[in-house]
Amino acid sequence: MNVTLTINGTAHTYDLEPRTLLVQLIREHAGLTGTNIGCDTSSCGACSVHLDGEAVKSCTLLAVQADGADVTTIEGMASADGTMHPVQQAFMDEHGLQCGFCTPGMVMAASSLLAENPSPTDEDVRIGLEGNLCRCTGYHNIVKAVLTASGADQ
């Protein structure tokens, strides 16, 4: 069946089997491999993308559920001139990553959180990102990065 959606500002139509997951559409059909798969059970959040501006775990949605939607992936976060999104820049500057596998999902979840709450507390960030797992950092530098980015947004 046909699924028409916008990914990172460009309209696409794909002929897909109905069982195709949104993350499969993104990785295999659109060829955008920045979105990672870490668990298959919507536990880790590595596959987080924005669906109409809000963070979703793309392994938990069927591609057909995104029909007509506006999807943003990690590849669509930088400005047209290549300037990184403040959250991306803050993850770099605060050493909010090591292996980096969770990072795209974290950036997507964090930017969605900041869109909703531009001045979060440390506690707000932890509660807001609790659905994203990181096995390397122990999370503190990620929290720092999100708080730094919120300052940059203000």
Partner: protein, 781 residues
């Protein structure tokens, strides 16, 4: 938040500076290629058929129906392995494909290749295997019994190692003993196993992109099983999404290569999370009896122990894990006498091997629990008791080895004690209305805990960990440094798993050679081995190799400059961009100084040789040691058995802090894994069948589980280390676990004056809130 010592003034980008990751931009932009992202023209998919039984005889395998699935391109079994049938890190005892017996749930039996993953799945389902299901061996103690039938031709005992030191008959005024258990922990890296194999035209070799920890060891085992020369197997590091020990063993490397060579076209394989739990080794479960003898005032006299490590179905690194455990059984304390007996055995559980801490995690939980028990029996404060017994440089370990390293155990203890305790009130932050913040209470969002029931406890954990490979292993690392047109290019096979060697390598070149412009070559097998990214060894080993290669290039450049410009090579230095003679003020840009010459040096760095243990477990078996102290503060709901870890304070021996920011990341991440083992993480197996092989049921620490970490670095450059620096990866994980458990015990003792033994990790709610079961613990004296 983390408190770090203020760095002194240093040239940006050099050693001591908190340099950011060179791969950071690609990683935050999603353009970094993890191994699971790789593809090639004409590539097809591979998949693996795995045993559903922990122990069974294979009567027959019928693959004919799999061939009839449309889109299937290859079906292979043990008959299709052209080289050695078995592989393994220490002994080749693990079949590439099981032929006649399966020994664990998840053991590979066959592999298929097809146009897409769904075709592969249908083909796997069509393979008919006729099993004669056998009674699995799941009791490690029973595996030691010579009357128990062997589940493997090599027998059930993988390794036995005693350590007998000093007077074996010595006794103390005070004796404490107990039996401790550690459950099976998963490394749970986020980036799942993946590989891409591209055969050479003609099928005489291949190039394999893989996320691993040890390129050249993978290549050795792959070549043996593929029946190829090692030179015909070229490995390239695919982006690695974490490792923590789980990538030290072969998983899908040989299977992917076999399919690619069979088809003459590229093949990729990728595990999902459920398969990953079956496809890599785990941390050994262990049962450890310990008896500590001390003088009445708490001076250690003797440690006795008998420990059994469950290695699962195949040997992997069990022998080395056991060696670490028995040789460091007393922990970082002076212990004049020891009688230790250790065994690693085969069972029909999932195979176990490397995980961060490698054998020391298990014994550390036991020896630190014992130190608390001893402190209690002697009426001494637990921190004082540790201080009193702390090991120092020049002391002797229980293998008779003199510790020549910097050994700042006392400094770690004192510095940790000086760190501030949390100001957070017991039972969680009060909200504006005076109620507790439920997210800060034990049980969190479950909202089950009444803050007034919460009790706070404090506990200590201290550890030592051997660095590098031990017992006579020829352990080395290779690095190549090339200077051309003013640009330094470094080449090594040192695997970057996220720990940050790619950051450190550039810092070393900028400091040692002095040139700021550093490029890193691709990480592959086109240069000599770097050894494994494990045992906290790469800062020391590959750091030593990169530094030596950079020094060699610098010396050659200075000789060349001296010849060309009639200056004294002994007076030259490089300040980032220019070669200069400090005395005269003469200078020349590196790009001009190196014009027309290509300076290219490859160096192998080796640490001083170690020796195997003798029959009494005596010998200089380890290269060196690193030390750390942890203090945990926990809030416990004693009625519901729930725990919130509030704070971990730690002082870690780092030798020299080469990148403070990077070290902080290792400490915080390591503490998270230590917390996981203390109160959350365990692979549950019933009758050899895994019950929770997914991230819904295997509980990993989240943002909300992570405590505040207050850290300080103990900087005493180690004269034995090439850069003065010790590895930092493993210590944070090792003693954070016993510190947390000690803190829970402390809290529970406040409730009824007795508490709970908590002699097993992870600590489960029932261990806290149900009446104490009959304990093996006893105290006399």
């Amino acid at each position: 938040m983390t408190v770090l010592d203020a760095p002194s003034a240093i040239r940006p980008g050099t050693l001591g500076d908190s340099v950011l990751r060179p791969d950071g931009t690609a990683k935050v932009q999603g353009s970094f290629e993890f191994c699971s992202d790789l593809n090639a023209e004409g590539c097809v998919w591979g998949a693996t058929l795995r045993s559903p039984h922990p122990y069974a005889r294979i009567r027959s395998i019928d693959v004919s129906a799999a061939w009839r699935v449309p889109g299937v391109l290859a079906v292979i079994t043990a008959d299709d392995v052209p080289g050695q049938a078995n592989y393994g890190l220490i002994v080749p005892d693990q079949p590439v494909f099981a032929a006649d017996v399966v020994r664990y749930v998840g053991e590979p039996i066959a592999a298929v290749a097809g146009d897409d993953p769904e075709v592969c799945r249908r083909a796997l389902a069509a393979i008919e295997v006729d099993y004669d299901v056998l009674e699995p061996l799941i009791d490690a103690e029973a595996a030691l019994d010579p009357n128990t039938p062997a589940i493997h031709p090599d027998g059930n005992v993988i390794s036995s190692q005693p350590v007998i030191h000093g007077d074996r008959d010595a006794t103390g005024d005070v004796v404490v003993e107990a039996t401790y258990e550690v459950g099976m922990q998963d490394q749970a890296f986020l980036g799942l196993e993946a590989a891409l194999a591209i055969p050479d035209p003609g099928g005489r070799g291949l190039e394999v992109y893989v996320a691993t920890q040890w390129m050249h060891e993978d290549r050795r085992q792959m070549a043996d099983c593929l029946g190829l020369d090692p030179e015909s197997v070229r490995l390239v590091l695919g982006g690695v999404g974490g490792a923590f020990g789980a990538r030290e063993d072969i998983s899908l490397q040989i299977h992917t290569s076999l399919l690619a060579l069979r088809l003459g076209r590229p093949v990729r394989m990728a595990y999902d999370r459920a398969e990953s739990f079956l496809g890599h080794v785990h941390r050994h479960p262990a049962t450890m009896w310990m008896r500590h003898h001390a003088t009445a005032d708490g001076q250690l006299v003797k440690v006795e122990s008998r420990m059994v490590f469950d290695g699962g179905a195949y040997a992997s690194t069990s022998e080395a894990v056991l060696l670490n455990a028995v040789t460091q059984a007393p922990g970082p304390y002076r212990c004049p006498n020891a009688v230790i007996e250790g065994h690693a055995v085969r069972t029909n559980h999932l195979p176990c091997g490397a995980m961060r801490g490698f054998g020391v995690v298990q014994v550390c939980f036991a020896h630190e629990s014992q130190m608390d028990k001893l402190a209690d029996a002697c009426g001494v404060d637990p921190w004082e008791l540790r201080l009193q017994n702390a090991m120092h440089t020049g002391d002797t370990t229980i293998t008779g080895q003199v510790v020549h390293n910097v050994a700042p155990v006392e400094e770690c203890l004192r510095a940790t004690a000086a760190l501030p305790l949390p100001d957070e009130p017991v039972g969680g932050h009060p909200r504006a209305d005076g109620s507790a913040d439920v997210m800060k209470t034990p049980g969190g969002a479950g909202r089950t805990t009444d803050a007034s029931d919460v009790v706070r406890g404090i506990g200590w954990g201290v550890s030592m960990k051997n660095l590098m490979y031990s017992a006579g292993f020829d352990d080395y690392s290779t690095a190549r440094c090339r200077l051309a047109d003013g640009v330094v290019t470094l080449k090594f096979a040192t695997v970057e798993v996220g720990q940050g060697f790619v950051t450190l390598a550039g810092q070393i070149a900028r400091s040692v050679l002095g040139v700021d412009d550093v490029v890193l070559g691709r990480i592959d097998t086109q240069v000599g081995s770097a050894g494994s990214t494990s045992a906290s060894r790469q800062t020391w080993m590959s750091g030593g190799a990169v530094a030596a290669a950079c020094r060699a290039v610098r010396d050659r450049l200075f000789l060349h400059v001296a010849e060309q410009h009639d200056v004294d090579p002994g007076q030259l230095e490089i300040d980032g961009t220019d070669v200069r003679d400090e005395a005269s003020g003469w200078r020349i840009p590196v790009v001009d100084a190196s014009a027309g010459v290509d300076i290219d040096e490859t160096v192998e760095y080796r640490h001083p040789a170690t020796e195997p243990l003798d029959e009494n477990g005596q010998g200089d078996c380890h290269v060196g040691f690193v030390f750390v102290a942890h203090r945990a503060v926990v809030d416990v709901d004693p009625e519901l058995g729930l725990v919130k870890v509030v704070q971990i304070a730690t002082a870690q021996d780092v030798g020299r802090a080469l990148n403070p920011l990077s070290i902080t990341g290792q400490i915080e991440g390591g503490v998270a894994q230590g917390l996981g083992l203390a109160v959350m993480e365990e692979i549950i197996q019933t009758d050899g069948i895994i019950r929770n092989g997914n991230f819904t049921d295997y509980l990993l620490p989240t943002f909300l589980d992570m405590p505040d970490v207050v850290a300080t670095l103990i900087e005493q450059p180690d004269p034995l280390a090439p850069l003065g620096a010790k590895g930092v990866g493993e210590p944070p994980t090792i003693s954070s676990t016993p510190a947390i458990v000690a803190a829970i015990r402390d809290a529970l003792r406040q409730v009824d004056g007795v508490g709970r033994p908590l002699d097993r990790v992870p600590v489960r709610p029932a261990d806290i809130c149900l009446p104490a079961r009959a304990s093996a613990s006893s105290t006399t004296g």
